[in-house]
Amino acid sequence: MATTSSDQQSTVTDYNLPDDSGHFGPYGGIFVAETLMESIEELNEAYTKFIQDPEFLAELDADLHDYVGRPSPIYHAERLSRETGGAQIYLKREDLNHTGAHKVNNTIGQALLAKRMGKTRIIAETGAGQHGVATATVAARLGLECVVYMGAEDIKRQSPNVYRMKLLGAKVVAVTSGSQTLKDALNEALRDWVTNIDNTYYIIGTVAGPHPYPAMVRDFQTIIGRESRAQMLEKTGRLPDALVACVGGGSNAIGLFHPFIEDEDVAMYGVEAAGLGVETGKHSAPLCAGKPGVLHGNRTYLMADENGEIIETHSISAGLDYPGVGPEHSWLKDIGRADYVAINDDEALAAFHQLTRVEGIIPALESSHAVAYAVKLAKTLPADKNILVNLSGRGDKDIFTIAKLEGIEL
């Protein structure tokens, strides 16, 4: 698993991962039951074909422009930067996308692929509900049957999104096994897929799962980083000094980071959820405090006990409440190309209020973790440095959770 420093050099300056079998160094791969292997091979074949097909890409671009509303702007958060004192904070406004988060970049792409593969039924897992809403949205538009698996616990804390999915015509199935959160919803979606393999396409919402999902979801999300690169050059005349994004499974972070990997002067910070504090064990920070193992089809950093049983995670934000992480992040951590840090519930909540108050932007609790770290980082840097934060989603879905936490009745 060890890499020499010369490997790391070549990896960063000539980055071309995963390899043909879906590996990012020792991470990634295809760890699923034989019952899924043929479908995964079929998916890989279709994906490899269509991602190079000009007609497919033109349709994707048109949808991203006309339906999602891309490109999303970059906003210089001047008051936040001034109040913080230090580097300039810029926000990539993925919260302004249709459905309110970056998730739709991926569901549009995968749904177009599903249609070309002749699948008539879409399934998905969801944690905070953003991916479920984004999936139900594209399924409604394309006239596909849609079933979304969601942990019973998450259904309780994200009821507005559950209602949204139902309005969009999706069937939301409450998952009551295990810890009743995102990881269990993923298990249940995999069980559905294996049972209904002939007509069903599984839209995984993050850069995890068996190959080709980590690469495919990344490729659909790199629109974030590609736009950001051009927009920052135009706005500031140079690349940003640092990128900051929250990491649950890690799709918004990889989407921002990936087009900058070979720009070695651009620092990258992935922000995990420290929950009640990494030292308490009640967190969702596998990169900061876990170790490598195999879950949900790939090898990656995980939160597990000494026997390898996955342990329950905690975060104020349902979207970060996941014990694994995309395998490419594990690799970027090991080769030192990205730094992974953690922000706890209280810090995220404070950032939520601060951004809302001084910029008039209500961030999702997930994205609030990134904002919190960006503020910390900005304080350590001079005013001529630029930090770009991926504001991956808006916080409308979270206001009920926050009101409840603060004892306010709505």
Partner: protein, 270 residues
């Protein structure tokens, strides 16, 4: 000769097919499992598949999921399962025991350490649900060193190239998953299973076991006609949960169902 090879050879001489029960180790507790293993052998079982409970059993239906949760609540672990096998071997040195589970507990113990401990305790083979041949090279080296048989799955969706990949690395037997779905759900189609087994036989001389949809003695007999081994799992675990308040009754129910299956299978093969 390995216990597995000896088992299939002896059965063939008697015109019998292997009856392979699956129970989750530690459900409802380790003592129950140990007693159950001996009882199952007395009832006519030939090979025992012992489930290693895992927190995220992605290929299992609700019955085995719940069994895993109960076992984990009782503190069962991969280490604990190996210990159950060690105790079983104190009295039974003949019946092959296969561990069936997921990769992460083995990753955390370490491939080499796991293979050494399992073999030393008397485990004969390991079926790891979520590791296809493509990812298994390092694990297979460890199994080879300690003479553990890697058992692999094939399914209705396995095309010829997948069958060849599995046949190239499998040992002991190949486990054919008879339905598209998870354990303990759906109804198997006998004619489809027959055709697929014939296709698989063209690529391997290993015995073929069939499982995932075997609910009663009638299905077991039908499967015995066309395969080398019949695997029954969820139906046995239902015997435990149906008698949750009385462990003896649970043991009796399991032995009773297996004895019925044994009689029905022998009736069609002998």
């Amino acid at each position: 000769m390995s216990r597995l090879d000896a088992c299939f050879k002896a059965l063939a001489e008697q015109n019998q097919k292997a009856l392979v029960p699956f129970v989750t180790a530690g459900d409802p507790n380790a003592d129950f499992t140990l007693a159950c293993m001996h009882n199952m052998v007395k009832a006519g079982a030939n090979i025992i598949e012992l489930g290693v409970p895992f927190s995220d059993p992605m290929a299992d239906g609700p019955v085995i999921q719940k069994a895993s949760e109960r076992a984990l609540e009782q503190g069962m672990s991969l280490k604990g399962v190996i210990e159950v096998v060690r105790q079983f071997r104190e009295e039974d040195q003949v019946t092959p025991v296969i561990l069936m589970g997921y990769l992460n507990p083995i990753e955390f113990m370490g491939y080499e350490a796991f293979a050494e401990r399992a073999a030393e305790a008397g485990v004969d083979g390991v079926l790891t649900v979520d590791i296809p041949p493509e990812e298994s090279a390092a694990l297979l080296r460890a199994y080879d060193k300690y003479a553990l048989a890697p058992i692999f799955l094939l399914s209705p969706t396995s095309n010829e190239s997948r069958i060849k990949k599995v046949a190239a690395v499998a040992q002991g037997y190949i486990y054919y998953v008879s339905i598209k779905g998870v354990t303990g759900t759906g109804d198997l189609e006998l004619s489809e299973v027959t055709d697929k087994l014939a296709e698989i036989k063209r690529h391997t001389s290993l015995p073929l076991a069939v499982g995932f949809g075997v609910k009663n003695a009638n299905i077991a007999a039908n499967i015995a006609k066309i395969s080398d081994a019949v695997v029954v799992g969820s139906a046995l675990i239902n015997c435990i949960t149906d008698n949750a308040d009385d462990e003896n009754k649970g043991q009796e129910a399991i032995a009773g169902l297996l004895a019925e299956m044994r009689t029905a299978m022998d009736a069609v093969t002998k």
